[in-house]
């Protein structure tokens, strides 16, 4: 069985799709789907559905099935992570200077003047109904912390029973790969074989600027997190869960992360 692959930029990162034993045109259709989701969910374009939703904060707004599902996923992530994975920290992200796509560079931080403080629990500022949703006035949603894993899971479903999707390091793989041993994925300095599993990495080494500024906001402080970890990689049963667990562990710090990941994940890498 032949291995087909496709790489392309989207979602502010590099995307890699792999497929065994199927029509490679499915990869092109998958890439188109991801690009359409990017246009729908980016907060960096004023006419995206997410930007429109944030612009109507305080009012119930119609949302597409995709955005509704992702908002529900954001609430699930918040619960699973004990409040640490928080899609409602948009104000803090903007205050750090992360106001435009990272490739264009950060803008001047305003953290010193805004004094944001802790972000209220997500379930107190976001309500999701059938086909409509509302975020509390004065707040906004950023899906950057949960969307890629969720999208990877759904795209693998579309690609079939032997496929791998890697969206900027957020991975989900179905089936046994090309050689039947599992999908070989670089993980913590070695190669692991994924079988119907996800993997993800969270850390502050990638998107960092200024004096200790980065994109991983701790909702308990409303500021870029300060932890004794720089990077966490995890394996989980789905790409969405891997992304949630990795970010949760990163924000928890080493001691709590070891315990938390031991309860939830079959594999993890902590740096340093």
């Amino acid at each position: 069985m032949s291995l087909e692959s496709l790489s392309f930029p989207a979602l502010g990162t590099e995307c890699h799709l792999f497929l065994v034993g199927k029509d490679p045109k499915a990869l092109a259709r998958g890439a188109d789907w991801i690009r359409s989701l990017h246009e729908q969910l980016t907060r960096f374009e004023p006419d995206s559905e997410l930007s429109t939703f944030n612009a109507t904060a305080g009012s119930w707004t119609r949302v597409s099935p995709v955005l509704e599902s992702l908002l529900r996923e954001a609430l699930r992530a918040h619960e699973v992570s004990h409040g640490l994975v928080h899609a409602g920290v948009l104000n803090a992200l903007l205050a750090t200077g992360y106001t435009r796509t990272f490739s264009k560079g950060p803008t001047k931080p305003t953290l010193q003047t805004q004094h944001l403080g802790p972000t209220p629990p997500l379930d107190t500022i976001l309500e999701v109904g059938h086909g409509h949703a509302r975020v509390r006035a004065g707040y906004g949603i950023d899906l950057g912390g949960i969307a890629k894993g969720w999208i990877a899971d759904r795209l693998v479903e579309q690609l079939g029973d032997n496929a791998l999707v890697n969206l900027g390091g957020d991975i989900f793989a179905s089936g046994e790969g090309e050689d039947g041993e599992g999908w070989p994925v670089g993980f913590g300095g070695t190669t692991v074989f994924l079988h119907d599993q996800g993997a993800a990495t969270s850390g502050s080494r990638g998107r960092r600027w200024g004096q200790s500024l980065h994109h991983l906001i701790d909702p308990r402080t409303g500021r870029p997190s300060k932890t004794d970890l720089e990077e966490v990689s995890v394996i989980a049963t789905s790409g969405a869960d891997a992304e949630i667990y990795a970010k949760t562990a990163f924000l928890m710090g080493r001691d709590a992360a070891e315990y938390f990941l031991g309860e939830h994940c079959p594999g993890w890498w902590l740096y340093p």
Binding site: L3, G12, T13, E14, H16, F18, K148, L164, N166, L167, G168, G169, D170, I171, G177, E178, E181, G182, W183, P184, V185, G186, F187, G188, G189, T190, T191, V192, F193, A199, A200, T201, S202, G203, S204, R205, G206, R207, E231, S233, I235, E258, L261, G262, P266, G267, W268, W269, L270, Y271, P272
Partner: protein, 75 residues
């Protein structure tokens, strides 16, 4: 029955219980090499590489020889 005999019996029973317990414990010391001792394995293999720590439970297969097709990383 005189009271002193009851007191003596109580002291003897207590003393015998203490001596017997100590003897039992000393004859049943845990032996790591005992044939029926269940193997104790760690729940996760921990490997320190550079300054990082990799933990893989037995359900995860890994190889240092196999080239990965892709990798997870900070994006």
């Amino acid at each position: 029955m005189p009271a002193w005999s009851l007191k003596l019996a109580a002291v003897l029973v207590t003393g015998l219980a203490a001596v017997g317990s100590a003897g039992y414990v000393s004859r049943h010391v845990k032996s790591d090499g005992a044939p029926l001792h269940p193997p104790v394995i760690s729940s996760a293999a921990t490997v320190a590489g550079g300054d990082g720590h990799l933990n893989l439970k037995p359900s995860v297969q890994s190889s240092d020889d196999q080239q990965p097709i892709t990798f997870t990383s900070v994006s």
